[in-house]
Amino acid sequence: MKTFKIKRNPDLKVASSIVPILDSDFCYIPIYPNYEVQVKENQTVFKSQCIMLENNQEITSPISGIVRGVKEVNTIDGVYPALVIENDFKEKEINNKGINKNFSTYKFKDLESLFKKYYVPVLDELLEPVTFNKDIDILIINTIDDEPYVANNNILIMNKLEDLLETIDVLSIILNVKETYITVNAVETDLIDSLMKIIGTYPNIKLKLIDNFYPLNLTEKFKKNSNLKIINIVTLNAIDYVLKKEKNISEKLITITGEYASKKEVLLVKLGTDLSNIIKEYLPKEKKEKIQVIVNGLMTGKELINLNLIVTPNLKSIHIIEEIELIQKSCINCGACVRVCPVKNNPKFVKDYPQDKMSINHREKCITCNSCSYVCPANINFKEIMEKERNNENK
């Protein structure tokens, strides 16, 4: 897979501490099509109480409070009905077991039964739950954020290094892993220093430095044809919750940055929080004319039109930036798009001959990393072209 260096503005680097904003009045938990609601209107719910089931896996309440009904909300995946829970700010739990000290003695079947019970999505990426296989050749715990200026993974590992290393160690034993690696961006010297001091305590875990290129392709950096499992550190944190506390994680890390963001930080917010008030706080103090709010990264993200966005497990960042007007010019036939495509597609060909068989094949192969639009000197929006053709195909 071809990768390339992306220009990074050092001014957009986020602060190294996590800022908790956990006092939202209401929580909105989206009810996706296959979710079964388990609570009724005006019912009191506790924190970590099951409120919905997805494939018999529990989706729990991130707060304690009263169910106020159902309301349509904006999520990153579109508009969905959501269960509205009014926060009583008591954080009451039914069975607060505390930290399970025996988690290090778990066997694979214990892990399987826990993850059959709790719905733990692949955080920052998908709404689909994490799955485990036994006898893995290589377990990769990734601390690198693929999108430029997103720092959830990096800040989390800096703040919870010892706890998470312990969990990685236990997990590698449970899954009977041959080799365990923790991948770190080679430019993150502070993290490398911290890891070097402590990693000797865990002889099973090896450190692997990865160059700062886009898109992040970890599988290529390891032995070919081996049975690999890659887990991002934010997802590992959710796994850590289930293993140690036997409950679902109720918070989510979100990077907020951009040249127009008043502060550049990583926030810890409750799942289901309405972000509108938080975003407003981070908008620039002086009025700016052309502001864009982008969610989930500048390379692959979406522009937010309505600020009322609900925090879901696959939401990872908010960028407040100056609106850039890229005027599309006629193609100069330079082939930069072909040169950077990580899956060896030919974006210009897809643009020129959308109905050709090869174009259809390339559209299927496309990983929507948007590298082609990023490098095109004629500002051709391949993202739009691909999306338009995909929509036509679906019709």
Binding site: L298, I305, Y374, N379
Partner: protein, 313 residues
């Protein structure tokens, strides 16, 4: 939520590509000024106009490309744009200026280039395919100059006043460092190689084409050697022409060369075949003619064989 917009863009813009070309050509143009202007003037073989002629011709080439694009856009498309930010034509016309022989008549150069640039823009500006404008214009201007100046041998057109008056040392070492007979600003092989090295960092430069061409030509020259050709004669032929510059900056012309790997290999092979054939008649212009012919026939081949995925242009 809008999904189809681009929020982040690299520094790889048409303007940055154009600026990079200007920057890498600057040492070549200055060397051309030294070799064809300063030395000739200091030896007393030319006047003050002759001193600055090697500088003026590439600059005039650039200005013609710039002005024609600007004016045509204003008249035809009713839009006034930042030309360097949108078009590569000024760089193409600058390269034509750099390839010109020193004895070129400046008025012929201006008039013919002006007409050709207008025709090129009117025909090919928004087309997917284009002929190699640099090769085409250079050939036309040189042929018209030969006719007007009544020069029968092309080599005589490339000699400056000093070179034609005295017998100079033509050792390969001297030729390699630019003291050979070729276009005004394209003689110094070392500077061309440095320029190629700098362009390698540009994503929009087709760096593979010169490699394929050089590799292909090495095979052809190797076969020639086996068949009994003289090694130093072959080397002298390569260095004593704009060969290296043409494969580096004319064959890689953005608009007329393929951009995918298979296409580039196919394009290079065709150029080598054509050059080998045309080279039997005229070596100096054979590479330009080969590039021009290939740029004309590849779209036709694409149409005939419908192998667009193979030879994308």
């Amino acid at each position: 939520m809008k999904t189809n917009k681009v929020f982040f863009h690299s520094n790889n813009t048409i303007e940055s590509i154009n600026k990079r070309y200007i920057l890498v050509f600057l040492p070549l143009i200055l060397f051309g000024f030294y070799k064809n202007g300063y030395i000739v003037y200091s030896k007393g073989y030319t006047n003050i106009f002759g001193l600055f002629k090697p500088l003026l011709i590439p600059i005039i080439g650039f200005v013609i490309g710039y002005l024609v694009t600007f004016i045509l856009n204003k008249i035809k498309f009713k839009k006034s744009e930042n030309i360097l930010n949108n078009y590569i034509v000024p760089i193409q016309t600058m390269i034509i200026g750099m390839l010109m022989p020193i004895r070129i008549n400046i008025f012929i150069f201006i008039i013919v280039l002006l007409i050709l640039t207008i025709i090129y823009l009117l025909i090919f500006q928004n087309k997917k395919y284009s002929i190699n404008f640099i090769a085409f214009s250079t050939l036309i201007i040189i042929l018209i100059s030969m006719l007007v100046l009544n020069v029968k041998e092309i080599n005589l057109l490339y000699l400056n006043a000093y070179e034609s008056a005295v017998k100079l040392d033509h050792s390969i070492y001297r030729l390699f460092f630019g003291f050979n007979n070729s276009g005004i600003s394209v003689t110094n092989v070392i500077l061309v190689l440095i320029a190629y090295g700098c362009m390698n960092f540009c994503l929009s430069y087709k760096k593979e084409i010169p490699i394929y061409l050089l590799f292909g030509f090495l095979i052809v020259f190797g076969i020639n050697l086996i068949l009994g050709a003289n090694f130093s004669e072959i080397l002298r032929k390569i260095v004593n022409s704009s060969f290296i510059f043409i494969i580096t900056f004319v064959a890689t012309d953005q608009k007329s060369s393929p951009y995918n790997n298979l296409g580039m290999i196919f394009y290079s092979v065709l150029i080598i075949i054509f050059m080998t054939i045309v080279g039997q008649i005229n070596f100096e212009l054979s590479l330009l003619i080969a590039i021009l012919l290939v740029s004309i026939i590849t779209p036709l081949l694409v149409k005939i064989f419908k192998k667009t995925k193979f030879i994308t242009k």
